[in-house]
Symmetry: C2
Subunit: 453 residues, 2 copies
């Protein structure tokens, strides 16, 4: 097990392995070969048998053969695949005007006003700056942090992922050993609530942050920012305890650094508890960064930043993003926001998420590879272990389940340092019936995996 886990390090969880001896359909093989030729080696596919999706609606996807899949993975299309309200809004704006922010427009102002109103102080009086991707949002947030503080030290969690730009990849350890971290980057251990007592965990976590601040100072760097995804997605999904980040924000501010909430995964009602993940921890970030679900698949992302934090940067260093906040991107974001609000997807995420976790707890009574069930709203982690007493990570079983579900046409993935945590993160319109279908398929897959050992 240890060997398997270690070999996962630096690789992508749930990646298709072209060297594995899989029996792929001829058409799949042909597409994979064309990909290798024209897209090259940096591209990765999901699953041992990659899927070829051609259509989507709500929580369902269909492949070329017309087979239906249940999507329990894609958070980007948070208001559902091909959501008609978003599709219409984008189409209406595309045929009217698609242009940038150096002309005046109403739409971006209305959207910014509504979005700010969902945040607490100081962000509710802050500024919205639009980019196209979460990577650009985090990159911009750190540029601002470095400019504001005069330092470049960055603290992240052990398995954090914050982006694919040169800067953000430098503080994204989950990209693996092949991707170097910046010399100014420090890591604190994953807050592993499965293995560490909650009270002890909070104390240990803030102590680690303080130690790394001191280490950055000792190396002459100083602290620019602590940046965190409050659901710790790539660390293995740790939604509790929510008292974790408050003391950290205190330590970070004390050291003159910025607290940046990366809401790319945890934001836009995903947690079922609050619009923004950091609100569960009752912290007041200096910047929050937005991405993936913001436009339901249309490329739009951004940051909300406190006025004071960006005042000098804004005057000395203009920021312009050609597509960022263009009229169509704003239309997509506005329509997505309206669906989340008008269909109470926050409430739906809370309710259906609870149903899934309740069902998982029932499954854990008969399947002892389920070591821990975590998460909030529609972001759920299920940690697979080979023995519950030793809590030994079981990546092989997690991989078998992800692929077994895929063969049953239910899409999820896995995450965490040991690649042994099932990642269940469906569109927010996931229904109780969808939850039942997921749980039945998972039960069947677990039984099958157990039988074949």
């Amino acid at each position: 097990m240890t060997a398997t886990s270690t070999s996962q390090r630096g690789k992508m969880v749930n990646a298709f392995n072209p060297d594995a001896d899989a029996k792929l359909p001829a058409r799949t093989r042909e597409l994979i070969e064309r990909r290798a030729t024209v897209l090259g080696p940096a591209y990765r596919l999901f699953y041992q048998t990659p899927v070829h999706i051609v259509r989507g609606l709500g929580t369902k996807l269909w492949d070329e053969s017309g087979d239906e899949y249940l999507d329990a993975y894609n958070n980007v299309v948070s208001v559902g695949h091909a959501n008609p309200h978003v599709v219409q809004a984008v189409h209406r704006q595309m045929e009217t005007l698609c242009t940038h922010t150096r002309y005046l427009h109403d739409g971006i102002l209305g959207y910014a006003e509504e979005l700010r109103a969902t945040a607490g102080r100081p962000l509710t009086d802050g500024h919205l700056m639009l980019t196209c991707t979460g990577s650009e949002a985090n990159d911009l947030a750190l540029r601002i942090a470095k400019h504001r503080t005069g330092h470049r030290g960055i603290i992240v969690t052990s398995e954090a992922y914050h982006g694919n730009s040169d800067l953000t990849a430098s503080f994204s350890p989950s990209l693996g050993e092949g991707s170097p971290l910046g010399t100014w980057v420090r890591r604190v251990p994953t807050p592993d609530s499965y293995r560490i007592d909650p009270a002890d965990l909070c104390r240990r976590f803030v102590t680690s942050v303080r130690e790394q601040i001191a280490d950055l100072q000792r190396h002459g760097e100083g602290l620019a920012a602590f940046i965190v995804d409050s659901l710790f997605s790539s660390d293995g999904i740790f939604s509790e305890p929510t008292g974790l980040l408050g003391p950290v924000a205190g330590a970070v501010h004390e050291a003159g650094g910025l607290f940046i909430a990366d809401e790319v995964q945890s934001g836009f009602a995903r947690s079922g508890d609050a619009m923004w993940g950091h609100q569960r921890h009752q912290v007041q970030p200096d910047i929050m960064t937005l991405g993936k679900p913001m436009g339901n698949g249309f490329p739009v992302a951004g940051i909300v930043v406190a006025r004071d934090t960006v005042a000098r940067f804004g005057h000395e260093q203009r920021y312009f993003n050609t597509f960022g906040g263009n009229t169509v991107a704003v239309a997509a974001a506005q329509a997505t926001f309206e669906v989340i609000r008008d269909q109470d997807l926050l409430g739906n995420a809370a309710r259906v998420g609870r149903e899934i976790r309740d069902g998982l707890r029932q499954l854990s009574e008969k399947h002892d590879r389920i070591g821990d069930i975590r998460g909030t709203g529609l972001y759920i982690g299920v940690e697979m272990v080979s023995d519950r007493d030793g809590k030994t990570p079981d990546a092989a079983t997690a991989t078998a389940i992800v692929n077994g579900l895929r063969d049953r046409r239910v899409l999820i993935s896995a995450t965490g340092f040991h690649a042994n945590v099932l990642k269940i993160r469906p569109p927010l319109v996931f229904s109780s019936a969808d939850a039942d279908r997921l749980l039945i398929a998972l039960d069947d897959t677990l039984s099958s995996v157990e039988r074949h050992e």
Copy 2:
């Protein structure tokens, strides 16, 4: 004049100045105040009287009052505002499926195959990697260059702009004094064909590059890449001589660096001479980067990279961009590509560009502030000077013309170190009638500016 020019340094050319005592309509003032509140100080507007555009079609834009503008500036919407072929393709794909590259899709493969076929060796056998913005494309290109060479030295032209990410802003001197360059960045002087004899210019330019390579090596950095926009857009638009870059590519390769062609401005038929700007210089880049016009306003961008160049990076460092190359982005890019090809916009750019430059030469006979007329296809620069003998840059006149044209509802901008070069860069569907309207308005504006001095 020198004082004015110097004060432009570090500021944005053609930016609205909120401190100027302009008489703005109440509605405009209200929008500007809301922007300042919710978007903050990093956002900039164009023109002394900003425009509020609400609709676009082809080469025309309309403001809130229904007034029509001729768009002689926006290269992003290269196949025209609200192009029906692109609008339909995006809509069809949006209502079918919007998802990422970790599932198999046909569309991205077909597009990659068609796009590669337009490039010369080694790119025609290379890989397409998709991002959302030109900044992301250049950021990725330099990440690959650094990984490939083991060095981080980057050489750019004096006033280059290559992006807004932390890395790309570090080698974009045109962002001004407030935006620091990396210690590993070296600049070579703008190839000023207006002031330097062509033969001498080529020799001087490659000598400068060699000197900066030596300087990088002397500082222990070594050369990762030379990156260039072959139309030198932010340097002031220098389309000639086309013998300039060949010797540079030789020097760069000799030093073990990569030659990166930034085609964000010069690509996709803009030059009227070739699909890609670097082809005019008959160089073989290791990477070309794509952006702005690629999806006619839909956020899509990317790189084409030689197989060998990205082989090790691709295996050691996967690259994934959530929205990059999603099914809708590819549909937008494919449709845009088809319009360029099927409507022969390369030919149109050549023909209408020539008409505009011919017209400008006639105007220069009666308006002696026109010092130089440069450019190719539909990327045209007109350098304004206060005296032709001294070739003294005249930013005040350029600014007056840009704003005078705006008042006549023709949109252009300005560029260059001295902010004295008119930038005429319309959609590629610009017609002869559009060219006439532009020239008549420019004639009138020039006369008016001259009268009011």
